[in-house]
Amino acid sequence: MSTEHRTGDAPESGDRGLYASVVSWMENLSETQYAYLLLTPAFLLLGAIAFWPLLSTFRLSMFADSFGQASVGNFIGLGNYVAIITGERSALLPSPFLPEALTTRAFFNSALAVTVIFTVISVFFETIIGFVQALVLDQEFRGRRWVRVAIILPWAIPIVVQGMIFYLMFQPNIGFLVGTSDNPAFLNQLGLLSTTPLANAQDATMIAIVADVWKTTAFMALLILAGMQSIDRGLYDVAKVAGASAWQRFKYVTFPIILPTVMVAMLFRTIQAMRVYGLIETVSGCTTVPSLSCLVVTTFNNRMLGSSATIAFITAAIIAVAVSVYIVGYVRGGQ
């Protein structure tokens, strides 16, 4: 028994006793039991609000679409999956799942290809720019707080508004960025944009990417910045004395230490980018840039519940594949 005593020891009330016994019960759990105990609240919530709906949606994905009275048709097992992947259902979708030919046009018309293009390019640029932004914010300088506000601002913008900004910016005769064929704007002259970029799958995808980079780079920057701020400054002293230049300190100390954070940021950005919907819908419309989530939402709105659920699960499966790239990289990096 401990000899420690509380001064002015309050008489132990029943509550206190209960509390104490709960605490001691918790303290005596094995590491595994304790781990599961702490995870319980999160999993209860996730179970009810995430896993259960997913299961029920999965069930839905096994039913045919219905265009009549009922909300879903017959049970057809994995029929929806087959139909969508083979392209059998393409006619009922705003755009096919896989490219139907090996042309650029077909690629930009395929939900999968567009999504992958969007994801790879936007996550790439977000990471790089986010890194540089974080490096800038990690410096001490006057007005840092305001620069930080400026960098966060895009991220605080609701998607509707973000979409509106970019939609209008690239609207001929309205925004500043697009001209007409007689009176081309700067970007048109450079040949970077057609005069009707939002109707053009390629241009519209790029605009969506720019819009996404503009908005979500802050996400990267904030996370990376947090990672940088948690690094023990003493390590930089060691590195300096060992002869590391600023770049080498970054390369050997900062970068590897924040790598896990960067990976998490990239991982989630990739996942989010692969689910892009609102941005595309508001900037160019899902018909022009058909992302995977566009298909999910469009089919859902069109009451093709089975197809919608199926595409949702296919999307998730594709994301899972993308994620496994990170996980493999992470495991490799961790060794």
Partner: protein, 395 residues
């Protein structure tokens, strides 16, 4: 009551066994020093007592209670960590008072205690500093204050004074001893400082590669080391170890001509057996002083190689034979080399021929496995010297 017992405790990491089948029984109120080479498992042992590391096997008891599965907070311990581990986000006051605040002490009581503890570690005016604004020694003292501000049953201190200068160290040492007396606690203390281990502890536990080598009062460890490891580990500079073999009439060294005469059967060795002779530097005398040594061996002729003046004494490295002396300065126990300590007024110079004698009452004999065979090789074997040592150790 804070008896601390480790029963067959082991700790295995993936590829290392940090602690192996350790048995320790520490009485209430005892002051135990854990010593041993770097990486021998001292910190791991402490962590198991504290409850921070779960033993792979075995039982830990504190005050007769099995605490193996009890969390640290319920073990009635406080600890000074080897790596100091101050909370970087708290100032000194908050660091020191952390444990008290957790226990809902009253504000005045906390303030009083923190002030006291800060006084003890001489950090009076620094209560509102942050850890990163302090020097290494100051941080360590905060860590000590954090531990002593509470009054637990057992103090665990892992090299609490490593970063302090000699003077402050002595000061802190006496403060800790006073605390020990006043609070009537059990203290387990890791130190690399021989003086600390010798002066502070009731018993010293010597560890090597995770195994307990000897646990005994300091002078017993010093005078009657259980094995070669303890013999060379305790005492600085280290004991001279002279490999050799038993002859019909005593011991004869493998290098140089160190001969000690004794009756092998009385000691319990057989002629021809490979043994190691141990002698501490301070038991090596210049043969001029032979008369002062009650039981001296016959003279050994050596040459002084290197002199290390230490202020209050001089270490003289003696070569008994022209063997390879490549790394000779490294350790006193190189075969063929003997380290002698002499007073600061000695007139020995480097490269001079020196004849030395050993004090036979202070010689140690170890078998092939390094286990001690005898301490003191005077004609009447062993007993006298051992008794003497014990008497000293008890006070």
């Amino acid at each position: 009551m804070a008896r601390v017992q480790l029963e067959n405790v082991s700790k295995h990491y993936d590829d290392v066994t940090a602690v192996n089948d350790m048995n320790l029984d520490i009485r209430h109120g005892e002051f135990i020093c854990l010593v041993g080479p770097s990486g021998c498992g001292k910190s791991t042992t402490m962590e198991m007592v504290a409850g921070l590391t779960k033993p792979s096997e075995g039982t830990v008891r504190i005050g007769e209670r099995d605490v193996t599965n009890l969390p640290p907070k319920d073990r009635g311990i406080s600890m000074v960590f080897q790596n100091i581990a101050l909370f970087p986000h708290m100032d000194v006051y908050e660091n020191i008072s952390f444990g008290l605040r957790l226990r809902d002490y009253e504000k005045e009581e906390i303030d009083r205690r923190v002030d006291d503890a800060a006084e003890v570690v001489e950090l009076g005016g620094m209560l509102d500093r942050m850890p990163d604004e302090m020097s290494g020694g100051q941080r360590q003292r905060v860590a000590i204050a954090r531990a002593i501000v509470r009054d637990p049953d057992v103090f665990l201190m892992d090299e609490p004074l490593a970063n302090l200068d000699a003077k402050l160290r002595v000061h802190m040492r006496t403060q800790l001893q006073r605390l020990h007396r006043e609070l009537d606690t059990t203290i387990i203390y890791v130190t690399h400082n021989q003086a600390e281990a010798m002066t502070m502890s009731d018993r010293i536990a010597v560890l090597d590669t995770g195994e307990l080598q000897q646990i005994a009062p300091p002078l017993v460890c010093y005078n009657e080391p259980a094995n070669l490891f303890v013999a060379t580990f305790i005492g600085s500079p280290s004991m001279n170890t002279i490999p050799g073999s038993v002859t019909d009439t005593g011991f004869s060294s493998a290098y140089g001509d160190v001969h000690v005469e004794f009756d092998p059967t009385a000691v319990g060795v057989t002629p021809g057996q490979e043994v190691t002779l141990g002698v501490r530097p301070e038991d090596v005398y210049s043969s001029d002083l032979r008369d002062e040594v009650a039981h001296s061996t016959q003279a050994v002729s050596t040459r002084s190689d290197v002199l290390e003046p230490m202020g209050d004494e001089i270490f003289v490295y003696l070569v008994t034979e022209d063997v390879d002396l490549g790394g000779s300065m490294e350790e006193g126990s190189d075969p063929g080399e003997i380290l002698m300590s002499v007073g600061p007024d000695s007139d020995i110079t480097e490269g001079q021929d020196v004849d030395v004698v050993l004090d036979r009452s202070k010689l140690h004999l170890f078998d092939e496995n390094g286990d001690a065979i005898a301490h003191g090789l005077v004609e009447t074997p062993g007993a006298g010297a051992a008794g003497e040592a014990e008497a000293e150790g008890d006070d």
